[in-house]
Symmetry: C4
């Protein structure tokens, strides 16, 4: 018996040093559920079967919510029934998930007991889960009320759950966070260029095309479409001088795209390199 405790202690110590967290290796239902639901407790690469199933459910729920807004689909016979049934299934799945998470989180020492559960309940990700689930109960049964239908779009928020599932996401968001000042500067740079080009076009074409360039806010619609290289083509300069400034704006747009791309590329390159260097060299 004491032998077993000694081995357990060893494994636990090893785990602590490796993952800075103690995933349980117990075989109770709650422990198994915790390993399945918490991505950081899942020892194998990739996602656990239950988490994969939940992601698939979220994607399916989002696609159905989108399809629901299309009148030609709503006019199809049986589509309404499909929505009602799938809504009830998704409500069941996501409610079960929430309860399972709430119960199994007790395996994590941080959230043990009643105070731990309350702490878990007020975490932003739990609150988003509940907010994403609530429309299923609030809109159940009702069909035509527009405001309630609007409420159901909150289900798109369930996608935010995906954010919990990946390690790579952590590297990316950390790299972006570390270069947040540089990215803000490139955004400020883009805003200044937007203003300058909108002001010039307002001065040059404001008289000729009052609807498109009659004020700086109106000219900004053209500026943003040009500097981001979207270029709808609903408005564009007509005079020679306006076209010269328009062309210069389009050329500057390359810089507006190149600056953040360069910062992000450099940030990711450094982050990947750092991660590689952290791994101890083979001896």
């Amino acid at each position: 018996m004491s032998e077993q405790i000694r081995i357990d202690k060893c494994i636990s110590l090893l785990n602590t040093s490796l993952m800075s967290e103690t995933p349980s290796h117990k075989t109770t239902l709650r422990a198994t559920l915790h390993r399945q639901l918490d991505p950081r407790s899942w020892a194998k690469p990739g996602l656990s079967p239950i988490n994969l199933m939940i992601i698939a459910s979220i994607v399916a729920a989002v696609i159905l919510t989108i399809a629901e807004t299309e009148p030609t689909l709503r006019a199809l016979p049986g589509f309404s029934l499909l929505i009602t049934i799938s809504d009830q299934i998704f409500a069941l799945v996501f409610t079960a998930e929430l309860i399972a998470r709430f119960w199994s989180i007790g395996e994590n020492p941080e959230f043990r007991g009643i105070s731990g559960r309350l702490k878990y309940l007020i975490r932003p990700s739990t609150l988003i889960d509940i907010a994403a689930l609530s429309p299923y109960y609030l809109t159940m049964g009702s069909d035509g009320n527009f405001m309630l239908r609007l409420f159901r779009f909150l289900r798109i928020l369930t996608l935010a759950k995906l954010g919990r599932y990946s390690e790579a996401m952590h590297v990316l968001s950390q790299a972006l966070h570390r270069r947040r000042y540089e990215l803000l500067i490139s955004l400020a740079f883009a805003c200044v260029l937007l203003l300058i080009s909108a002001t010039f076009l307002f001065l040059l074409e404001g008289e000729l095309q009052p609807d498109a360039f009659g004020s700086i806010p109106r000219a900004l619609w053209w500026s943003v479409a040009t500097l981001t290289t979207v270029g709808y083509g609903d408005v564009y300069p007509l005079t020679a001088l306006g076209k010269v400034f328009g062309g210069l704006t389009a050329l500057t747009g390359i810089g507006v795209i190149a600056m953040p791309t360069g910062i992000i590329a450099a940030a990711f390159s450094d982050a990947f390199q750092e991660r590689l260097n952290k791994q101890p060299p083979p001896q």
Copy 2:
């Protein structure tokens, strides 16, 4: 004589260490053919003359297949004859290539004998070769059948053969594969942004422009054109608030392009550096 064998052994050993494969230096027809057809057995830089000729044939066959669909070209006198003749030439060339590959692959110890040939036959690249060749025989002689003509588009698949010809391709695809999670996250990020912007535009402009923004799937057409900075300009927001959100979407589009570009740039930079470091330093 034994001197010659000793030198041959030396060269062979050197080759093994350099390319982790033993290209034969025999002078039989089959060995020569193998060296010409298998890019990894070709010792000199670049591609062998036969492989270059095959690539040229594939490109020519693809261009002719494309040209065939154009009614103004089909109306030209002699064009039909050109197609018939070139189809027969290409059928001959690609059949000869397939047979030559099947025969000469025996030089590779991995595919020696009947079982080796069967193993070679069921490789994906061989199956694509056969699939790309089959329409030449299936459509031969027939001219007006639309479904058979459709079948002939499979010839575009012959381009997939090009994938076999390059070492650089391996470095690129490996670098992309290593960052597949990061790339998937940037795709998911783009999808979430697509959904958010489509939902906003649906809410803001759905009443005013039911054809363009009357449902989220319809609004997605505008969203994808804006976030990818394509900007056809067939649909765009008309209200002030719609334009504000449209402009924000266009600005976010920079991030949608910058994220994968940054990941890919960082991945390639690491891959190139790693390859450089692998080469032993000169002493």
Copy 3:
């Protein structure tokens, strides 16, 4: 007492080695003001409360200046009063800022005394501050004069003050400056491509569409829209050959965007790495 001086000396020495500048730790009003106004004297991370307030004022002033040009907003009752009052508040705030900067800069040994103040007064950033402030006094009271209204657009220049507030900006601008030749080459490369594509389209479509491609300067409008991938769609080639060259131009546009992006990404990557290497390794 001598103990206190010893500690102060220590802190001062530490500061010198850390920031290569000696921020004063005196508690006079002028010293406090200097620490609040000069970003490099602010020991804590981020910006000082007063500088944050000034940035917020600049952004608010710029937004109001933009809004002022919109006729629908000018037609709103009370908007004119809002502008008049906010103009007076901004004039007060920015004048107070200028005087406070002028007084507190004496804490910096470089700008001490009358000659130091004169030296501070003729710095470009101070001149921009004064130029940005002057329209508030020149346009005060007048409302309808177009030329004076034009003058007020100079307030957009107040945004240039933002440039003073960030360390990250220094790294970015230095990295771009170090690669100025490479960036100029990619600009020259873009210009040559613009000329070539404009000349080809002028030759191919000049007869058919004289308004769009009747001269090289006219064709340049299409070229710049295509090579920067803006693509308004107001003009585009109509003939088959024109479309072939147009498509090639669009493909070359990828290179026109990729070149500066690549240079900027490489420049930033090197700059970030260099900064990391400068920090002494922990021992």
Copy 4:
């Protein structure tokens, strides 16, 4: 005297080790001219005054050639005279430059004597110089002949001279050359995507919009505009399925831009790093 020779030898040795070339320090007219004209013999940073003047002349000549094609400018009184006079001045300047280069190149041991001059004469850059100069003599005096006017566009080639003026260019072109296989693969990848999307749109929208998607070559015009994110908006899918594939094509367009950008960024990053490492560390 022998002291002077010793110092000269020292300087010369130093130069050899620094620039791997021996610029002459003689004070004859020919030597001075050579230092002014050959960018690699110019010891100071930047370009020599004469080379700067020549670049300005080339840019001015190109701008005038472009302006000449614009009918509204040609209609201006005095414009014809301006062109005639400036053409004669440019002919003089570029002829003088060519002769000066031909004479002064003798300072370079590689091109000394008659055989050296012949070697210089048949270099591609010299031939381009001559080809760029010839239209000035061929079109002199004639005004209305269209074919001769066409010939004058060759003057745009004088821009190619710019290529000789920069060291940074060498680093960039070498970096691109080293990654030519990777860049070719990304081009091939773009071509395959172009074909696939064009074929799908031809199949999906060919019946509905025969002018835009009636054949694969016609559909390619839409494909190239979408994949390069130009998006003119002259043609776009109208059916739901066509829009789904169109949207996927636009999303793939991000990859088409990201691939070469990533390769170029990685290539430049490596090239800049390598150059940095070549410089000996300070001791």
